[in-house]
Point group: C2
Chain length 338, copies 2
Amino acid sequence: MLGERRLQVLRAIVQDYVGTEEPVGSKALTERHNLGVSPATVRNDMAALEDEGFIAQPHTSAGRIPTDKGYRLFVDKLAGVKPMTAPERRAIQNFLEGAVDLDDVVARTVRLLAQLTRQVAVVQYPSLTRSTVRHVELLALSPARLMLVLITDTGRVEQRMVDCPAPFGEASLADLRARLNSRVAGRRFSDVPSLVEDLPEAFEAEDRGTVSTVLSTLLETLVEENEERLMIGGTANLTRFGHDFPLVIRPVLEALEEQVVLLKLLGEAKDPGVTVRIGHENAHEGLNSTSVVSVGYGSGGEALAKLGVVGPTRMDYPGTMGAVRAVARYVGQILAES
Amino acid sequence: MLGERRLQVLRAIVQDYVGTEEPVGSKALTERHNLGVSPATVRNDMAALEDEGFIAQPHTSAGRIPTDKGYRLFVDKLAGVKPMTAPERRAIQNFLEGAVDLDDVVARTVRLLAQLTRQVAVVQYPSLTRSTVRHVELLALSPARLMLVLITDTGRVEQRMVDCPAPFGEASLADLRARLNSRVAGRRFSDVPSLVEDLPEAFEAEDRGTVSTVLSTLLETLVEENEERLMIGGTANLTRFGHDFPLVIRPVLEALEEQVVLLKLLGEAKDPGVTVRIGHENAHEGLNSTSVVSVGYGSGGEALAKLGVVGPTRMDYPGTMGAVRAVARYVGQILAES
DNA sequence: TCTGGCACTCGCGTGCGAAGAGTGCCAGAA
DNA sequence: TTCTGGCACTCTTCGCACGCGAGTGCCAGA
């Protein structure tokens, strides 16, 4: 069992280490924080904290640095979420409000998060399947070639080419478009499969092949694997990683290039609030020396997608969590308005 | 005036330095390349090359490394473009052919270029204004709110919200959509402004305000500044930059984050073929120790946009130029098919 | 349970010397 | 005139020893 003062010592170690990037010793601790006890006492506490695995020494005769477990305790018990100041909130709102379309919203969000947290920002596009259909458009490019365009209420647009098995008349096209929209507009994409399955039956035999092809293209587009997109930014902040950084930065950059990895990373966070995954808690090996702070965002109650930042385990957790939470909130508002 | 052998010496220096990443000395040169002369002779040539500014010594008693001017001479006179091998060409084609939409084409191109050249890849989306209009769609989201969707023949889709000054009936909407498309479909986006300027006159007075609003939104979307988008990838390759890399990588990452900088960078290259900008030839300061190899690509004769790579000045120019040229060619084909 | 003291460890910076790579220059050969 | 071998010189790099200082662990006493 850890006493109250030991927790204070851990908190002080985390704060100092995050600030100075250098192992922190007992003397420095007593000087910078008025713990009311002597360095010797702090040393005893540190020894205990080390036994429990919350802090470690890089080598004998150096100060202590927090372990992943130590950061975990800090995040869970010792620190809250630091709320944004009013000017910061205004700045966020102003910055996001100028966005002209969804791509722009996402791009601005990435920039904003990267600037606020001074870390690498990751923003997922709103999920297709969890959005609702605003409109489905079908365009005839040539008699046997269609373009299918899906538009969500969040402003996301997906388009696909469809090669028809047989020529498809303008009248049939208009018919299909109208039927399709009357069935699915305003409904959730996840309900689309069941809403359209009997649609071919409403058409003449000669058109059924094409209708089926269109529908299967539509359904393929909604498959999990395709629907997830994301944008990252602020990679220049990786250079602030630390002294040993050439070794660390490589795998991180590689992981960031793999969208699959990132999507899994964000997907793992089930918590409705801000989720923090520290160091080895991240399944991906290249990210073992990073922490990921993420949160869901959405226009209504439900989360449409996730956003977050990736940074060194040695990061300002309260501030980062505050920034991530605030940005998510405003992005949700912006999407609801559009 | 430089003799033939001196040029050979320069070529050998560039090749060795690119391979080994280490300053190359006179002895090593004579051993690895059979120049038919002794190290002493090579030393004299090197002294001459140094006087002319083609090579330099990092410090006395080290080998020579090429200067920007040296690379420039190498690229212009001493090396050609190394064509891709047949298997490489097949791999490129296979990789690009699986693309499902334009975003996918661009994303795949970026990955491909990054893998082939092992450098940072940059791909610009096909220019809007230089494409032709496939379709313009107008959707009523609410009585006074429209969504404008532009689709190009390269598969690019742009959407914008339009807030109407007055409610706009379904019939007027269909009318506007039909008139708009009959005027601009199949035409180049750059011609759109002049094609639509008298369109409001065809409508009732009460609808003219809305029509004008729609048109001005349309024209704004075509403004140069908005129309350029790009995607980058392969930033993990920056870690292969060199030993001194922490200092170099930072400004490069920062420059890469600034789309404006990159767009200017690509825009500067006027050459119809592969363009190489070496070190200080790049206007942007952060990129002074990098070279940019770029080329235009397009479905027809005209370049729709640019793509290229950013890497250390110490790069394999012939190979990189070959890869960039080949990828551009295949991307052009893919876009022409879609 | 806390505190002051003390011996101990160990990383880090510094200085020095040897080794090695590479150069510039010169005199002689082709 | 051009190339070549030889030689002295310059610097960088590496290994090593040394001292300093930060920080620890432990112990006896308050």
